[in-house]
Symmetry: C2
Subunit: 427 residues, 2 copies
Amino acid sequence: MDQALEARQVDVAGYVRELGVAARAAARILARADTDTKNAALRAMAAEIRSHVAQLLEANRADVEHAQAQGRDAAFVDRLTLNERSIEQMAAGLEQVAGLPDPIGAISERRRRPTGIEVGRMRVPLGVIGIIYESRPNVTADAAGLCIKAGNACILRGGSEALHSNQAIAACVRAGLKAAGLPETAVQVVETADRAAVGALITMTEYVDIIVPRGGKSLIERLMRESRIPMIKHLDGVCHVYVDDRADLEMAVRIADNAKTQRYGTCNTMETLLVAAAIAPAFLPRIAEIFRSKSVEMRGDEATQRLVPDAKHATEADYATEWLAPVVSIRVVEGLDAAMDHIERYGSKHTDAIVTNDEARAQRFLREVDSASVMVNTSTRFADGFEYGLGAEIGISNDKLHARGPVGLEGLTSQKYIVLGHGEVRG
Amino acid sequence: MDQALEARQVDVAGYVRELGVAARAAARILARADTDTKNAALRAMAAEIRSHVAQLLEANRADVEHAQAQGRDAAFVDRLTLNERSIEQMAAGLEQVAGLPDPIGAISERRRRPTGIEVGRMRVPLGVIGIIYESRPNVTADAAGLCIKAGNACILRGGSEALHSNQAIAACVRAGLKAAGLPETAVQVVETADRAAVGALITMTEYVDIIVPRGGKSLIERLMRESRIPMIKHLDGVCHVYVDDRADLEMAVRIADNAKTQRYGTCNTMETLLVAAAIAPAFLPRIAEIFRSKSVEMRGDEATQRLVPDAKHATEADYATEWLAPVVSIRVVEGLDAAMDHIERYGSKHTDAIVTNDEARAQRFLREVDSASVMVNTSTRFADGFEYGLGAEIGISNDKLHARGPVGLEGLTSQKYIVLGHGEVRG
């Protein structure tokens, strides 16, 4: 770290403000950059990353050794570690974003009004995006690529444990911007481990338009309390599958199995299985056998325990828990209304699915369950930007405003009104 | 005020929470109400209002007399006062909203993915909307109508000076809801003058999904500091007209006149006139003559003062001021870039217009000016939900997320993902 930067740390807020001023200026240039220029920058970033594999690995090794010396656990070190494959994935990801359609400038809903004016909506960048993430260094490249493609500047604040890795990746990103003639300040990394930098970033309303946090629940909770800037975020993924009594039994078993066991640690993994009483005797023993064979701990209500004797007793708190682990909460419910009541009470508005062959019930579930993704006859694991065809994903939102569900490039943009007149005035 | 309510005021937060619980329950019913039922409720509300003109006038008289006794100024009393015409406008407004298309349930962007799942987006209500407004009682009916049509429940917190009027209007609204078989708790009025009720409403994140403030700058500033719930709001309307040197002179005069003088007190009124140096000698004396004849005070830079000798000197602060009065700030700028720099620095991202016959400059202005409404060759006064064809307006937003510019029914809704499967699971 250079001396000038050390001196500036005396005033972390001032340092972060400098980043904000530079980002705002860069954002104005990015907003009018054409598609070819942005794509050239993304491809140049990818080339820089591929030609700096050794340097990236070396920088990462310093972070990894430091983390190990500090006694960080294996999962943490695993998230932090780069290898040749994950570096190639970063480069390929940037090229993939270059290949996506450019959302900026598209005009929709254009119409002529009785007064003669023409009114439409133009898709424009949000401006400056603050990304706050934990130890995964690949977010540096992934997030920068999406922000640039959508015409935004960004300020990246990764975990302090990944600072060397992030700086090395950011150097490649800046070189790519420069090669395409775009300002290097379009992507800036907060180069101080001082946590006050986060506090400054999330309250700098005049220079940052939106915050995208990527990390665990404690990070998100802190930001929710302290941020004065809107966020694209989700706190919890307490996802449900409701097996209706008119479900296809084979399909229900397949979906419940996949939703729980395909991956345990993801936010779209099923955490609670709701089963209609009429189908429970046929369904629960079968899915329990699968869960048992995969060492998934089952916690159920009394009705569940009667059918699955090795299920533990589920508490109120269990039903509100995002396990992110081989544990599943189970509850036998009377039917659709009870299932929706349960989801309303314990869910996190993330992703919920019904398995049923009854079209009317499917329609009610789709319309009435107030979650970002609502599904019929498929696995909650599909709630994902790539699976939805967005091409890429900056995160998943379970808020109701702006972007809801998996957020791709469009979520990093806004629509403004444009009005084309011919001298009309208001009477 | 009844005794039970008085007792509850001991715990204002608890009282507001009760409203929140009831609103959340009502919102689930409203979300699945069909279009005919919602329209029937709106029309029944209008009929109730028309058959209770005498009662509404009487309730309003109590508020008006109280305000006068407290020495409130004429403008305040004017905003507070209902008459037969404004009451009829409330009723007609509700019927007009009944005639608008129902946004709820529409599915867009439906597509089949390679995995077999079909992904689409369904438009759904936001849930519970908190409206915080000042003395105008008509907002009670207008806001309730828009919320109901978009399938939401709402909690209305009007100015304490209008409490009797608001309660009388709310009684008509509830009667209309009841007549259509909808829960009366879909529209609730906060029946306490205690300002702590506002503090409770804007922090009750589990029961309120969005806050819509309607009022002056001090109200909005307070809510921005304290609200934990997203808002649809604008703080300032510092709107600009830039007269380019390639403008049609007659058109520029007509637009600048209309943008400033058609109404002085509205947020889309021009507050600053920017003039390209090359056209200033031809343009400024002509518009100055009109402003002079309408007693509009002019404040300009030195270049302006040379052409308009009676213009006062404009300070930095003047350029950042929303006059809402017959005052206009004027500045001579070198050209398009300087005009956009000025707007970026002093503007409020509300509404800005360019007058030019140069297509390339118009396109740059449209794309690069980062405001909710950007206009070419027309008056900023057109920035309005009715003029844009939205049918009605809950407010104007100059935030970039969710709704931007005039906000109609669509701004009171959200889009969630729906996924239709046939037993697909993720591999």
